[in-house]
């Protein structure tokens, strides 16, 4: 119960903090509109493309990954810059419970992107927002958000010792968009990419959101997404323990 409280308190604190950042709000709310607009214009130009709601949902989930890629990889570096990383590592709470709320909060502010993108599509492009399974849609969104947040946590944990973590994480923005089927169907990508996409929880989170909105099986992608999210948690804990010990051994924890 104490762990849940630590996680929740951290999550609320960081969510509020990030919501007050103009840069994060721009990443969460403006860039998805740019990609949605491009997708709408491109899809509408030919009439052979998927529906505009398909594009709107894809651009919205892209926004969740954008905020994560922009900030989650450098989450530890950020604490280092604030000068509190040593305090956090030394605190009695497990480091994972300090870090996970940050990355999940970063992904969660991407929820703004869902609201703005659907509204933008409705008002400017007349995209009809008919959700096939509203209840499953309401479950799929947090599942996708948490899965993306946990992927961010894996990145943050893996990049503890890498001082340019933020830049590396940002460089993954387009590749993850590309291979997780957010706007581009997996069937168009080379076959060797498919196993990579299947190992990424956002692929299944996106699929669950899309099926919940447009119709299709939601249960299976939701279950795979949840399973991968748990797996990411385990990987992150393992990586963090390992790198934390290394950083303590080398006394490099606070070095920027």
């Amino acid at each position: 119960m104490r762990h849940v409280r630590v996680f929740w308190t951290g999550f609320v604190l960081h969510f509020k903090n990030l919501s007050a950042s103009p840069f994060m709000m721009m990443t969460a709310a403006i860039w998805p509109l740019v990609y949605a607009t491009l997708a709408f214009l491109m899809f509408r130009a030919t009439g052979q493309a998927p529906s505009l709601l398909y594009a709107a949902l894809g651009a919205a989930v892209m926004g969740i990954w954008s905020t994560t890629a922009t900030s989650a990889g450098g989450a530890i570096q950020q604490q280092r810059w604030y000068g509190i990383l040593e305090l956090l590592v030394g605190a009695p709470s497990p480091l994972i419970l300090v870090l996970a709320p940050i990355t999940v909060a970063i992904a969660a502010i991407g929820v703004y992107s869902i609201a703005t993108t659907l509204l933008w599509g409705r008002l400017l492009f007349g995209v009809p927002v008919h959700i096939a399974h509203p209840l499953l849609f309401a479950v799929s969104i947090p599942a996708a958000v948490i899965s993306i947040g946990m992927l961010g946590l894996v990145l943050a944990s893996a990049l503890v010792l890498y001082r340019a973590a933020s830049a590396f994480s940002q460089a993954l923005e387009y590749p993850i968009w590309l291979i997780t089927g957010m706007l581009i169907p997996l069937s168009l990508l080379p076959v060797w990419v498919h196993p990579l996409a299947w190992a990424l929880a956002p692929t299944w989170g996106m699929r669950a959101v899309r099926h919940a909105a447009l119709g299709g099986d939601v249960g299976a992608p939701l279950l795979v997404c949840a399973g991968l999210t748990i797996a990411y948690g385990i990987i992150a804990v393992t990586l963090l323990q390992h790198f934390e010990r290394l950083a303590r051994d080398r006394a490099t924890l606070s070095l920027t």
Partner: protein, 262 residues
Amino acid sequence: MRTWLRIFFVGGAISFRALFAWIRPAVYVPTLLLGPTAQVLFFAYLGRTAHLQSDSWFVIGNAVQSASSAALFGMGFAIDGERWTQTLSAVLATPANRAALFLGRGLPVLLNASVTSATGFVGGALLLGFRPPLSSIPGLALLVLLASFACTGLGMLTGAVGLRMRDVPIIANLSMAVLLIFCGVNVPLDKLPHWMHLAADGLPLTHAIAAARRVADGASLGSVTTSVLVELGLGFAYLLLGFALLRWFELEGRRHGTLERA
């Protein structure tokens, strides 16, 4: 004149090296060299999804457009970075010629933007089989340089605004978003609403991208002279407007004591 040139070249180069914390390879490579290739790939595949244009069309549009990120952020940080390192007042207190001081910062940014754009072309060639005629490559290189120049001009303008406003990355991001949507990078201009098409004519990149596509299709550089001249004119116009704004905001900042207030 010698001092002017020294401030322009040496000052510009030192400023570029000193102010760009991200110039380290660990940051530079993923951000500015891999980014354009990833962008090219993403939009080429999105184009396939929409059945819109060929891969080459997207390679050219996105590779040329990727110069804008290096130019807009580069110029923004070249000016705003002084404030962050608390050297802005010291720099502006010098008697150095302002044209040499600020325009000199644009030269390394321009070259860096061209390199960034070139990596997008290389990525497109390696991963998407983009093969323009060999004879078109000098023309494409010139157009990339031209697009980088025009974007650096716009960067000077947005950097100048950063002297008054706090969030240069936000201004640079918004400018990049406008260029990405309006300039025919991923959506053919004739498929855009008329007002967007009109606005695109006054933006950097539009003419360079259109010319680059024609040159890559085998047209001679001479046949796209009008586009070249318009892009060049736009670059100078943005550069001069940016420089004028810089001077104005500098004077205003001195008058109100707000130079470091950010």
